[in-house]
Symmetry: C2
Subunit: 369 residues, 2 copies
Amino acid sequence: MNFKITHNCKTTRARVGELDTPHGTFETPVFMPVGTQGTVKAVSPEELKDVGVRIILGNTYHLYLRPGHEIVKKMGGLHQFMNWDRPILTDSGGFQVYSLAKLRAISEDGVTFQSHIDGSRHFIGPKEAIRIQHALGGDIIMAFDECAPFPADRDYIRKAVQLTSRWAEQCLEQDRGDGQALFGIVQGGVYSDLREQSARELVRMGFDGYALGGLSVGEDSETRDRVIRDTLPFLPEDKPVYLMGVGRPEDIVEAVAHGVDMFDCVMPTRNARNGTLFTQKGRLVIKNARYADDDRPIDEECQCYTCSHYSRAYLRHLYIANELLVYRLNSIHNIHYYTHLMDTIREAIINNGMDKFRENFYKRREDLE
Amino acid sequence: MNFKITHNCKTTRARVGELDTPHGTFETPVFMPVGTQGTVKAVSPEELKDVGVRIILGNTYHLYLRPGHEIVKKMGGLHQFMNWDRPILTDSGGFQVYSLAKLRAISEDGVTFQSHIDGSRHFIGPKEAIRIQHALGGDIIMAFDECAPFPADRDYIRKAVQLTSRWAEQCLEQDRGDGQALFGIVQGGVYSDLREQSARELVRMGFDGYALGGLSVGEDSETRDRVIRDTLPFLPEDKPVYLMGVGRPEDIVEAVAHGVDMFDCVMPTRNARNGTLFTQKGRLVIKNARYADDDRPIDEECQCYTCSHYSRAYLRHLYIANELLVYRLNSIHNIHYYTHLMDTIREAIINNGMDKFRENFYKRREDLE
């Protein structure tokens, strides 16, 4: 995997880069829509491409449980299975084992857990996580980590950092597929010194990229911001940095300014299904009665398929009537909002710098008509 | 509205025709997917066009209740509201008032009923039905009829036929939009002589086309077949005949042979959402375990988007995981199955005749591998 910084921001630590993978090159900062179960919910691969998505995320935990990584492998790997020929990053399952599975028991070798689907018993450790991700065939795969709960005391987090480092070492030792890049995951909770320790240990091992894990689990924005700012100096400048599970557009803008390159979050798709739509001026809740006869698109400046063809009145009608099409139309719009946000962020970094961009970004947010 | 018969079958009463509407010309026999609430469930207008859909059906009852025909009108009519620029046929609401609404009370002027959505009280008669359909702006609109229950005794049906005729007369007297064609609906239950009476009365009034209503409400196939066969001789050969709410592929094949030109049914889309897929060899139930690692498309002879890009294993996975994308992919396939069926039926009429086609149609149906 080759990562090249092409521009550095004049006013912040933000940067624009290019990341090569077996399924093509994409520019960073990049946002990855989440395709949990082998599909970005409600949206087709062609629609993802139309709105400018360059890489998506797949969930190891879910695909392992259903349909099973061996079936995905037999079907030619995740790319072929789901008809997506651009890059895929698969997470390691560490976060879902922590957030979704029941009755976890953590040992030196990994985690025993019960499936959230049917209660069946399973075990995933660093070896299993890499083996599953090898079968899925993602372009970028993640080390198996212990994602500690929030809040957790310092001692718990310290031990989680140590275990995560031992597991990271084991992940590096496993066979991977041709060209599969492996990222390490920095843990350490909200403790900046433990984050530093985790980062130093992983960097010593030498990964293709580094992720910040264990954030967006309940901590406030200021704390998260501080952790990001304090941790990034300990990661190598020539490797991509991925902030896992974050987040809101404003969180992304701030993290880019600290030097983060990659993001994923269910927010655009989940909000879409709940009828909350992103616009340059803030969020629009489509079920509101005021949109019942509003013939304008969601966002008059937006160029997406939904905004080009459908009114707020139509989308509200579909939403109130529980029509399946609305989940798709809303998701297309929200994902487009995110990809367009990343496009304008990269442009800003190349041209005037992120400071100016942030100023405008916040200034545009006013009450929606 | 202009209707022109271009070919007559050599072996049956089937015919190929062309029907002009303000939104373009389409060939008959034609199948109309159902877009109940201003959307063919789970499918976009572009996808409908891709699978060869030339005309869709909209439901007056549903659109009147939600979002309301005045809102649809304000948004530029149903075509613009839902982003569909090909022909639309709207039904009159007669069937839904009978099948969905609660607490109906039928009077000389129309039907008082309670909404199935919120129990609110409403009234629709012939005048209201045409006024609503005028506002929706469909290319073909339907007279308001009394769709009698099944089974019903002869006397009930006789009165329903008389009321339907009086209402039909009133429908003809109402103002319609430019170019809106009006079809009458033949009632008469399973009584061939009452069907004849209904047909004769409507034909005397002079409609742009004629529908057979009150079928597919519980009667068996043989009875339906007999009613169709007995009624069609009393309808003018130079007007389109529309068999409402029918049906299964085999029902369509048989009805075409009797001379029916137009069909609608929720079956392709509803079955799609229930995971039942149409193939040349019969029906495939996608959730079956045998498809878990089946890398073949639904139908190896099918050219639709779904069959071109996705395996049975993937569709089964999405279905089991309740992923929204599967409703779309299944619907695209099933609608394509129906449009392709109609294409091959028209070809058969033009070339070798429907007899040969029917023989092959039934011969191909064997157990699916």
